[in-house]
Amino acid sequence: MSTLLIDQSLILQNIKANTKEEVLTLMASNMREQGVVKESYIQAIIDREKIYPTGLPTQGVSVAIPHTDRVHVNKKSLSVGVLTEPVHFVLMGEDDRTTPVKLVFMLAMDEDHAQLSLLQKLMSVFQNAECLSYLAAEEDKAKIIAMLNHALELPEKGDEKI
């Protein structure tokens, strides 16, 4: 089983965007630049969000978890985007109702059925309003990574790789 990469280069803050497509393009292009996904990932993630939206309301700020097929992925990784102003994403499982998303967790998964324990821990972050506020407000990327490593139970040694 490969390991999940969360790196400072994959934490994007103060994203100013008007549409979800802008957010998705910006984050996916950055992942491409960092080499963790293929060029095709960018369009694939935009197309998939249209068909299978990923906006999730929470007890705190709303989140979105865009992801797409593993053929577009080089390295299993997680990119976190913090938006200056919320952008509307369609709710998962719905046609047109939207939620104002402040935090985007873009997943690049390299298995068909992604690692269950990792996903469950990520969902537990979404169910913790304090964690979400912290991620939305903290400016120090190292602290954000430390918090995510802790929440996802990834080792904190090395350069955030396990």
């Binding site: 068909i51 299978y52 999730l56 998962m92 499982g93 998964m109 059925h113 992604a114 469950q120």
Partner: protein
């Protein structure tokens, strides 16, 4: 008779994995004999005649002979107890 539950998400990568596990745990807790199948949305029609319930994180526009339950609350935790109750009721029928 053993119930067959379909769990579907768009890519079959993330959300259905979580929901699949949650439903299997529920069945164990309540001693319900059910088969839980993690499928892609495009595969749902092939199970049309054999499934008893569909739990999904995607939009389902087609009509099926079994009930369809939205699984978003398994991810957000909001309203998850209500959804579990709905699923249990269907499985106990």
């Amino acid at each position: 008779m053993k119930k067959r539950v379909l769990v579907a998400c768009g890519a079959g990568i993330a959300t259905s994995t979580i929901v699949n596990d949650a439903i299997e745990n529920m069945c164990r807790e309540h001693s319900i004999d059910a088969e839980v199948l993690q499928v892609k949305v495009s595969d749902i029609p092939s199970h049309k005649d054999s499934a008893d319930l569909l739990v999904t994180t995607t939009i389902v526009k087609e009509s099926y002979p079994f009930p369809v339950i939205n699984a978003r609350s398994f991810l957000t935790g909001i309203g998850v107890e209500d959804i579990k109750k709905q699923i249990l009721e269907e499985l106990k029928k």
